[in-house]
């Protein structure tokens, strides 16, 4: 078994119109910029995939990464906790014009819903958002005298992930706080595609240091000098 694939184009080949796509990262930290841009390349060349639902903590910054996907009109809906950034104009303008839908989810609930999707837990209760506008329409229940909101799992057709080391079985480590949503999203998608900074041989990752076991990974591609969204934006980059 060898989950390595050679090119970014191959990595994003299977994603169809209307797919739900989880994209790792918190802001630019842990964002799989190269996979996202490969997906944009495919869209520009073929008109597909479009009408995507994208799940991420944010909704893009500047004119690269998720913001560039939105700018190209590939995204029908964002599911996120914080659609603001240093330069959120791409999302903001489309949202205010009614051109993109938004499901706003508290950050911890977003993380837990994704984990639940990966862990086979269809619903859970959380105190978060009880009594607020974001709980509207959701079932509530009381446990031990305190009130909770019922939340459903989140799953995706595809997850685009950035990791640090990966081996041919798909075992992964992450770099510092770039871990964030990535290990959770690996668990919650039908197909999990990972860009890693370095592919190591089997046995090259200490089994105790593995953060994402390979069972959660479908394919990985090496991107040895990955771009950092924050630096791209500071340089005023746009994509394509």
């Amino acid at each position: 078994m060898d989950k390595r694939i050679a090119t970014l184009a191959e990595a994003v080949a299977g994603i169809g119109d209307g797919a739900t796509v989880m994209i790792g990262g918190f802001g630019g930290s842990g964002a799989p910029i190269e996979l996202i841009h490969a997906l944009i390349d495919r869209f520009l060349a073929t008109g597909s995939p479009k009408d995507l639902t994208v799940i991420n903590n944010n909704a893009g910054n500047g004119h690269v990464g998720i913001a560039a996907m939105i700018e190209q009109g590939m995204v029908r809906k964002m599911i996120c906790s914080f659609p603001r950034s240093a330069d959120p104009r791409v999302f903001t303008e489309r949202y205010l014009a009614g051109q993109i839908a938004l499901e706003l989810v508290p950050q911890g609930t977003l993380a837990e819903r994704i984990r639940a999707g990966g862990a086979g837990i269809p619903a859970f209760y959380t105190p978060t958002s009880f009594g607020t506008d974001l709980a509207e329409g959701k079932p509530v229940a009381e446990f031990d005298g305190r009130s909770y909101v019922q939340e459903r799992w989140l799953k995706a057709d595809v997850a685009l992930i950035k990791a640090e080391l990966g081996d041919p079985h798909g075992n992964l480590t992450y770099r510092m706080a770039a871990r964030n949503f990535n290990p959770l999203m690996c668990m919650a998608a039908e197909r999990t595609v990972v860009q890693v900074s370095r592919i190591v041989p089997l046995g090259g990752i200490d089994p105790e240091a593995v953060v994402t076991p390979g069972i959660f990974v479908s394919a990985l591609v090496e991107v040895s000098e990955p771009q950092q969204e924050e630096l791209l934006n500071r340089a005023g980059a746009t994509y394509p």
């Binding site: 862990a119 086979g120 837990i121 668990m187 105790e208 069972i215 959660f216």
Partner: protein
């Protein structure tokens, strides 16, 4: 009946033939663990154990056990390159979350509805369930390996389980000492049987109707 039924090793061998290269597999404690020995050449499954190891290998030589490196049956195992450790919640996320390709379990009874009874023989004694009830609700394919009948000759494949259930409608294939049987649409569908065994004989040893769909293959297994 002088029929030579399959040995446990032969049942395990047959089940192993259906495991694809690269499949993630959980083998129940005891008899199912034997399946790992019979991976076809050129194929390599990755074995998961509930207590938190992926891609473990066979038992170490006696005296070289490390008792922090065990499987769900609490037997010492070894590591392969590419293995990983994780805690129990992550381990059962793998199980319940549908990430395993195959789980192979033992059975007291399997019903034509796919119901499985394999954890309790009734109210006597100390009940113990372990991971059985989780495993039946996670793997993409839940298969059972079992003797076709009990020691006193009663059918283990039944219309309805009389023993406490492990899970409802979860089993899709049964490998027995006499046959390979799929569960589809609430019916037992016969796929393979020992060549020397007539359909009538097999039906008489089975507690629910055996449906035929297309050819029934010969269940041919090497001496082991």
């Amino acid at each position: 009946m002088t029929l030579t039924k399959l040995s446990n090793a032969q049942i395990a061998w047959r089940a192993a033939q259906d495991i694809a290269d690269g499949a993630y597999v959980n083998l129940g404690i005891g008899f199912p663990e034997m399946v790992a020995k019979f991976q076809p050449p050129g194929r390599q499954a990755i074995f998961h154990t509930e207590n938190g190891v992926l891609d473990f290998g066979e038992a170490p030589p006696e005296g070289q056990e490390d008792w922090d490196l065990i499987n769900a049956g609490k037997k010492a195992v070894t590591l392969k390159p590419g293995s990983a450790f994780f805690h129990h919640a992550d381990s059962f996320a793998m199980v319940r979350g549908g990430h395993l390709d195959v789980a192979i379990l033992g059975a007291y009874q399997v019903a034509q509805t796919g119901d499985l009874a394999n954890w309790s023989t009734g109210p006597k004694g100390v009940p113990a369930v372990g991971g059985a009830m989780d495993l039946v609700h996670g793997a993409k394919r839940v298969a059972v390996i079992t003797e076709h009948v009990t020691k006193d000759g009663k059918p283990k494949l039944v219309e309805r389980c009389t023993l406490p259930l492990t899970g409802v409608g979860c089993v899709t294939r049964v490998y027995t000492s006499l046959a390979v049987i799929d569960i589809e649409g609430g019916r037992f569908v016969l796929r393979e049987k020992l060549p020397a065994l007539s359909l009538d004989e097999l039906q008489s040893l089975t507690g629910a109707a055996l449906l035929l769909q297309g050819d029934v293959g010969d269940l041919i297994v090497p001496e082991l």
